[in-house]
């Protein structure tokens, strides 16, 4: 536990990605495989089955520290993290022989003897184990222990960084390790050894191509030349991904470089009909009855660790396929787009089964004139697309973001002016500062809250606003402050729809602060009728 706590401290003590990776690589090179395996598991976001409800831990902590519940709540509001609050209110460890032994106990013994068995214990046995551990562990270790047993261990490293560190420690390529870590990897000594084995028969098989990205359109359309030189498609708002079929296996990579194969079983099933040596580029979209579902539906699904039959039925996904990068093992990226698209259409006709195709060729938008393109872009929202893509018909599939041959042209976000009426502190990095705001529009003489937003202000603005909030609080409800309706903000959002669940009757998608309108008095904010009109125009 000592070495792992030190690793945690080292990672936590720096804001530099490089130093984090170096600290992990160090640990992986020196730790016993049994410990390294669990470290990989937890650092990469693995969590054991829910062992103890964190509320129960909180109750024990209050009892041990003799802190009344209301004071514990106050403390929690100041810290913003329950496991951390618990470790901070507990009395300091008294150094005993038990405590020394606890430090020296290796990570895998902690996990296998003290953590995993919790699930089969009675509440009284759990209490005894937890209290003993608190007594024996010091501050940081205690915090880590709380995080581990509540399944919320996070230290600001992604699975990708863990993969990079493993790669640095072993010399094995990142893609290979990422693939080995995906699927059914188990945190055992053998599992760890397999992860970093230099024998790399599986190396090339899973590897995706670098994604080619578009720049935001800057010039007027006529500057692009003739419309017939361009292929127009909808700009979909899902998860950009590559589906790779090689060696009889399927790999799905997100643009962020994460292997997400397990998250999309319907794509995996359909990919079995693709010939070996195929790489598709597209957008994973929630899709039903031939049209896109709202992005919020996909978010619901992404949020789940386990995908039950219910969510799979409610939010089916497809790959809206943009491009064919590899066919029969041949790299097609230098072929012109027109040719790649022809081959893609042919392939999907062959591979798809009626009636519910899972790989849908991205619909081509007919654009004979630039006026057509303007009209299409303006109508993109009707299809739940967020704009138009323009790609040169003769373009190769490049690497990274290049100017010239692919452009994205997003529709303008909706925007309204609203007044802040509630504020509450953020969590984690933003704890202690009021960073979560609720905004209202006018309804006659009343103000109706309709959106919450957390982003869009600079750190300096957040601090200024925080100081203002503290001085202009009308009422406090726990951590939430009701503030004087004075500060006006321009809010931008991507979508708006009716919602019986909200007091205002509307729900907006991805609201954020576009500008702090210090120039605008609250008498000039938008009204509920403005919002209703936006909905009607959008239906």
């Amino acid at each position: 536990m000592k070495a792992f706590a030190q690793l945690y401290t080292d990672i936590d003590a720096t804001t530099s990605t490089n130093r984090k990776v170096a600290a992990m690589a160090d640990y992986f090179s020196t730790a016993a495989p049994a410990d390294a395996a669990w470290a990989v598991y937890f650092l990469a976001g693995g969590r054991p089955k829910r062992l103890i409800p964190v509320r129960r831990l909180a109750a024990w902590a209050m009892e041990v520290s003799q802190v009344p519940e209301w004071l514990f709540e106050e403390s929690y509001h100041a810290v913003g993290d329950l496991a951390e609050t618990i470790s901070l209110v507990l009395p300091e460890r008294v150094l005993t022989e038990d405590a020394t032994r606890a430090d020296d106990l290796p990570l895998h013994e902690w996990v296998e003897r003290r953590i995993l068995p919790l699930v089969d214990m009675t509440e009284a046995e759990q209490r005894e184990t937890v209290l003993a551990s608190w007594r024996e562990l010091s501050g940081t270790e205690r915090y880590i222990w709380n995080k581990l047993i509540t399944g919320a261990f996070r230290v600001g490293v992604s699975e990708q960084l863990v993969v990079r560190a493993l790669s640095r420690a072993s010399g094995v390529e990142e893609g290979v390790i990422a693939h080995r870590l995906g699927g059914n990897w188990v945190p055992t000594p053998e599992g760890f050894s397999a992860l970093v084995a230099t024998d790399a028969a599986d190396a090339d098989e899973s590897r995706p191509y670098p994604f080619y990205l578009a720049y935001a359109l800057e010039d007027e359309l006529p500057a692009l030349g003739e419309p017939h030189e361009w292929q127009a498609e909808w700009k979909w708002d899902g998860i950009r991904a590559q589906v790779i079929r090689r060696g009889g296996r399927t790999y799905i990579w997100s643009r962020g470089g994460e292997l997400v194969t397990d998250r999309f079983p319907e794509l995996v099933a359909a990919a079995e009909r693709l010939p070996d040596g195929t790489a598709l580029d597209g957008e994973i979209m929630p899709w039903s009855n031939g049209e896109a579902l709202p992005f919020a539906q996909l978010q619901r699904r992404i949020g789940r660790k386990k995908l039950g039959p219910k969510i799979l039925a409610e939010v089916p996904v497809v790959l809206v396929t943009y491009d064919l990068l590899e066919l029969a093992g041949r790299d097609l990226r230098e072929e012109p787009l027109l040719e790649r698209r022809r081959m893609l259409d042919a392939l999907l006709v062959e591979a798809n089964t009626w009636p519910e195709p899972t790989f849908i060729p991205s619909p081509i938008v007919q654009v004979a004139t630039w006026d057509d393109a303007e009209a299409a872009q303006a109508a993109a929202r009707e299809r739940r697309a967020e704009g138009l893509m323009l790609k040169r018909r003769d373009s190769a599939y490049g690497v990274g973001r290049r100017k010239g041959s692919w452009w994205k042209w997003k529709v303008q976000p909706f925007s309204v002016d609203a007044v802040m009426i509630y504020a509450q502190p953020g969590h984690g990095r933003r704890a202690l500062l009021h960073t979560d705001y609720t905004f209202a529009v006018r309804d006659g003489d009343a103000l109706v809250p309709f959106a919450k937003a957390y982003s869009g202000l600079t750190d300096a603005e957040i601090r200024t606003l925080d100081a203002w909030i503290r001085r202009h609080t009308l009422e406090k409800f726990g951590p939430v402050r009701h503030v004087e309706p004075v500060q006006v903000f321009e809010l931008a959002f991507e979508g708006i729809q009716r919602s019986p669940r909200h007091k205002s009757g509307v729900a907006v998608r991805f609201p954020r602060i576009a500008r702090w309108r210090t120039d605008k008095p609250v008498s000039e904010i938008d009204t509920i009728d403005t919002l209703r009109a936006l909905i009607r125009a959008n239906e």
């Binding site: 936590d12 520290s65 802190v67 209301w70 100041a78 901070l88 933003r430 500062l433 925080d466 100081a467």
Partner: protein
């Protein structure tokens, strides 16, 4: 004995304000931090130990009557005595005795010993006016020896890797406590920000032993700072002033660093939990030790502290400080007064 006024705490019997927020005729000042020692009052009363820093803050023209700790001053029929508060050099609690009734106003204080100022002393009283900056049970300080040990290790590790170590601490008080904490460390040279250097000299002139320091501003362009320790006020964080240090690690020495999120939000490499205020256990022990039956709570987590004391049978009152220091103070300690001078060099 005391009432609250728009200018702050006031003792009618002595016609005396304590740390007033606006200019008054006569005031006693608990310490030289900007939110306690304000310009413009006609006549100040303060502890002799803090003379130098108070002069730096209030100017040579200010009329300041200096008294020794423990030496009673009679004003009308009130006896005013200053008692060490252990917060920074010259910090004092104000003891007021009037017709057998005793009140003590703590100002800011800590009970841990600190080589840069006289240690805190408990004063028995009927009513105790206490600060509550860190008035939640999550705030408990580890022994400062451990913290200084960690700070030295951090400096040594950075030096070994050719990095400078930049530690932020309030220019008055914390900066000098850090310097005293690395006395004799022998790891590398110590540099200071202009605001820190001036007050550090005031400390030395007051008889406090501190390691040698050099103001960064006096160093020629192109100086290499690798291996050195740089002591700077928090306002220097994120400024272009840091560029000259090349590869460096940053840390903040403050009680707020007890909470992980407070450190992460500032994008600091390290947080050293080192405070010049009492932690929760010391706050409760001190209140207990004063024997006070009535406690006024100000400056910080007023409401929770008052409620906790009420539940223990004490009478309490919460009083506003002009600075809403609750939560994380961007307005903590001396920030108000030195914001201007801190950014000058």
């Amino acid at each position: 004995m005391l009432t609250t006024t728009p200018s702050g705490l006031y003792c009618p019997a002595a016609d005396l304000y304590i740390d007033p927020w606006s200019p008054v005729a006569r005031a006693v000042i608990t310490h030289a931090h900007g939110d306690h020692a304000r310009w413009g009052t006609r006549h100040y009363l303060a502890a002799r130990e803090g003379e130098r820093v108070l002069r730096t803050r209030l100017g040579t023209e200010a009329s300041i009557e200096l008294v020794d700790y423990g030496a009673p001053v009679r004003i009308n029929d009130v006896t005013v005595t200053l008692i060490p508060a252990g917060h920074i050099l010259g910090s004092a609690q104000v003891r007021l005795e009037h017709r057998g009734e005793v009140w003590v106003v703590s100002g800011d204080y800590k009970t841990e010993p600190d080589p840069t100022c006289t240690s805190f002393e408990v004063a028995r009283c009927h009513t105790f006016v206490t600060e509550s900056t860190f008035g939640l049970p999550i705030y408990t300080w580890r022994p400062q020896a451990e913290i200084f040990h960690e700070l030295r290790d951090w400096w040594r590790d950075n030096a070994a890797e050719g990095r400078a170590s930049v530690v932020y601490g309030y220019a008055l008080g914390k900066a000098q406590r850090i310097l005293a904490g690395v006395l004799g460390a022998d790891i590398g040279p110590i540099y200071t920000h202009g605001a820190v250097e001036r007050l550090t000299q005031d400390y030395r002139d007051s008889g406090v032993t501190l390691p040698p320091t050099t103001a960064v501003a006096t160093m020629p362009k192109g100086t290499r700072f690798a291996g050195s320790l740089v002591v700077a006020p928090p306002s220097a964080a994120g400024s272009t002033w840091l560029r000259r240090f090349g590869d460096h690690s940053t840390a903040f020495a403050s009680g707020w660093m007890r909470v992980r999120g407070a450190r992460r939000r500032r994008a600091l490499d390290r947080g050293f939990v080192l405070s010049d205020h009492v932690d929760w256990p010391s706050l409760m022990n001190t209140i207990d030790a004063t024997g006070a039956e009535c406690v006024w709570v100000t400056h910080g987590y007023r409401e929770p502290v008052a409620r906790y004391l009420e539940e223990r049978g004490l009478r309490t009152r919460t009083i506003a400080s002009q600075w809403e220091g609750e939560g994380e103070g961007e307005v903590d300690d001396d920030v108000g007064a030195v914001a201007g001078e801190e950014t000058t060099s």
